[in-house]
């Protein structure tokens, strides 16, 4: 078992002929993912990295039985790409594209939800289950099969933490990067039940950021519905209020969404919260040892 992706996952890459689409198609294939189709309007009949390109998602699905999509198309066209994927029957869509207006995402989110499709992202690294499949851009070098689940709002910080776990000789069951935008298809609260139910996950690492209340919502869920141990890190403890640090929507406003409130909520829910990214692997090892003794 794993979360969201399996060995049966068949990926169509939307925007496959672009620089990011092509490079990441190669990386997904190297990871062992079945990338079965690409879509770029006007480029049907060509091939990218040995993958056939189609004009539409519907054509790709009809010919290749693709069941998941990875979107790399530029922000102004991302909404259309998502609607097309959902209408073609795709039920898992990872959106890597950054800078999608949240007004577009509001429509995308509710459209997908009402048709039973799941969005991960936008502005996210995607999903990877080592040994099974990867939909997205998490670097292959940091991933390693194992029994630690990882769910994060960050991109590169996720790689940092996952790499640290790998360096301690541990691996991941599934790693999900949710994206840091104001409106995301999958939140912590959406993802937590999947890890709770996944028999291959022993412990969950949760990486959050300042801004919004996603971590507080997660803590509330952990407290009542989650039985596995959780190790967490919240980035932005030292970030100043009212300034947007970086490209994503990490911003403290009106005293809400501070690192302190998130850490306190997670600790109160029983999670072990590290103060720095490099403390996470240590805490994981420590918690596993404690559990092992029981």
């Amino acid at each position: 078992m794993s979360v969201l992706v399996t060995t049966e996952t068949r990926v169509v890459v939307q925007g496959i002929t672009g620089h990011q689409g092509t490079g990441n198609t190669r990386q997904m294939k190297l990871f062992g993912t079945q990338v079965v189709a690409g879509v770029t309007p006007g480029k049907a009949g060509t091939e990218v990295e040995g993958v056939p390109v189609f004009d539409s998602v519907q054509a790709a699905v009809d010919r290749t039985a693709a069941n998941a999509s990875c979107i790399f198309v530029p922000a102004p066209f991302a909404k259309d790409a998502l609607l097309e994927a959902v209408d073609a029957g795709i039920r898992l869509v990872v959106i890597v594209t950054e800078h999608i207006p949240f007004h577009d995402m509001l429509v995308m989110y509710h459209y997908a939800k009402e048709r039973g499709a799941r969005i991960v992202g936008p502005n996210c690294p995607g999903v990877a289950a080592p040994g099974k499949a990867k939909v997205g851009i998490i670097p292959n070098v940091v991933l390693h099969p194992g029994r630690i689940g990882v769910v994060s709002r960050s991109g590169t910080l996720t790689y940092e933490v996952v790499n640290g776990i790998r360096e301690r000789g541990l691996g991941q069951s599934t790693c999900i990067g949710l994206g840091g935008d104001p409106v995301v298809g999958t939140s912590f609260v959406d993802a937590l039940p999947w890890f709770e139910d996944d028999p291959d996950t022993d412990l969950l690492v949760l990486v959050g950021e300042i801004g919004g209340t996603a971590e507080e919502d997660a803590a509330e869920y952990l407290r009542h519905h989650f039985t596995k141990p959780v190790v967490a890190y919240i980035a932005g403890r030292a970030a100043p209020a009212g300034k947007r640090m970086g490209h994503a929507g990490a911003i403290i406003s009106r005293g809400k969404g501070t690192a302190q409130s998130k850490q306190a909520a997670l600790e109160a829910a029983g999670a072990r919260v590290g103060r720095f990214p490099f403390e996470i692997p240590d805490l994981v090892v420590e918690v596993l040892k404690e559990r092992g003794r029981r």
Binding site: H103, V142, G155, T156, L157, P182, V183, E209, F276
Partner: protein
């Protein structure tokens, strides 16, 4: 995030039919006097500084005037203000109204619920943060049907409005809802919303437009907000750049890693103050640009912390080596580099050949850059 000054917000309101007081913008005391002398703005009137910071009323940035002479004096006083670090360039003059009630209405984004949310409160005219939660009614608005009749009726009820005033609210909410969506707003806030007789009038306008939507709203990308000149250059180059108090420069990729780097530096006694987020780039020239920009901000030391994903380590290394060759001697700074992830080995080798040592531990790198910043600070000199 593009925050609009009140008068720009009101231009949007006007476009969508939100009722406003009779008013006009002025940029000098004589222009202000002229608008009341020629009857463009009725007397008595209110004169308001067009700044982005809140608390204008208490801060002397809002004044009332009965005569053209008073208008001139008040305008001169406000235009001379440096309001919370913002130079007052424009003032808005508006005819004073007989206000029966001050209310609050806003449309914002509910991130957790992934819907717009309509906020209403009968306690307008004060900062909404100071209003008791129980006095604010929050209604999530589903994007597909949009704002419905029953939601508007509930809003009217929450504001204590009925009859003609409730109908006035319904029209106003439709206009705000349209503006929120069509203008790609993050926030539209009317505080206070005044009840004048049986009609509603927007006395203030707070509008924030989302950055990511500027591809369909080029008109907003021209508006200056609170960016420093270097932040402005960075924005044009597509680099996220933030300048704060502090002397250590940080170049990282991704918001989360940038913030984690800041957390670690602060812990070891550093004062990081210049942040440059490369985001997901795979262009060595952009990395070079970033370093040249960083050099202009005159940091005491710079920490390059990259985890290669989309942004490959060798690309960053090449960009860095190029930048080091281009940065003028007077702008050079001590550098600590940490590059991990995709093409790490190639990147470290490129740096080694250029005489730059890359560290791999985040902790040691942070300690090393903090030490470099402190070592190079002249004793007793400005930090």
């Amino acid at each position: 995030m593009v925050k609009l000054a009140e008068w720009r917000g009101k231009e949007i309101f006007r476009k969508y039919g939100v009722p406003l007081p009779t008013g006009r913008v002025a940029r000098s005391p004589s222009e202000a006097e002229q608008w009341v002398r020629d009857g463009t703005v009725p007397l008595p009137c209110v004169i308001k500084a067009q700044v982005l910071a809140g608390g204008r009323g208490k801060g002397g940035a809002v004044r009332f005037a009965q005569t053209p002479e008073e208008v001139r004096t008040a305008a001169a006083a406000i235009l001379a203000l440096d309001f919370k670090g913002e130079k007052v360039r424009e003032i808005l003059l508006e005819g004073k109204l007989a206000i029966a009630k001050e209310l609050y209405v806003a449309i914002a984004l509910d991130r957790s619920g992934r819907t717009p949310i309509l906020l209403t409160s009968p306690q307008g005219g004060v900062e909404i943060e100071s209003v008791d939660d129980a006095a604010i009614v929050r209604q999530p608005v589903h994007p597909f049907p949009g704002l419905t009749g029953y939601e508007k009726r509930r809003a009217a009820q929450s504001l204590g409005l009925s009859g003609a005033a409730a109908r006035s609210l319904s029209t106003l909410l439709d206009a705000l809802w349209k503006a929120f969506n069509a203008e790609d707003a993050e926030l539209i806030e009317v505080n206070p919303l005044a009840l004048v007789g049986e009609s509603l009038v927007a006395l203030d306008a707070k509008v924030i437009i989302e950055d990511d939507a500027t591809f369909r709203h080029p008109e907003y990308s021209e508006i200056l907000d609170d960016r420093t000149p270097l932040e402005e250059i960075a924005r044009e180059k597509g680099i996220a750049f933030v300048q704060l108090d502090g002397n250590i420069g940080v170049i990282a990729n991704g918001a989360g890693l940038t913030m984690a780097t800041l957390d670690v530096l602060m812990e070891f006694g550093g004062r990081p103050g210049i942040f440059l987020d490369l985001g997901g780039t795979d262009d060595a020239a952009k990395v070079t640009e970033a370093f040249l920009l960083m050099a202009q901000a005159k940091p005491r030391a710079v920490f390059l912390n990259i985890f290669g994903g989309v942004t490959r380590c060798d690309t960053v290394a090449n960009g860095l080596v190029q930048a080091m060759a281009e940065i003028p001697a007077a702008q050079r700074f001590p550098l600590v580099a940490r590059i991990r992830g995709n093409n790490e080995v190639e990147g470290i080798e490129i740096l080694r050949r250029a005489g730059i040592v890359a560290l791999s531990s985040l902790k040691e790198s942070a300690q090393s850059v903090v030490a470099a910043a402190q070592r190079d600070a002249p004793a007793g000199g400005p930090a």
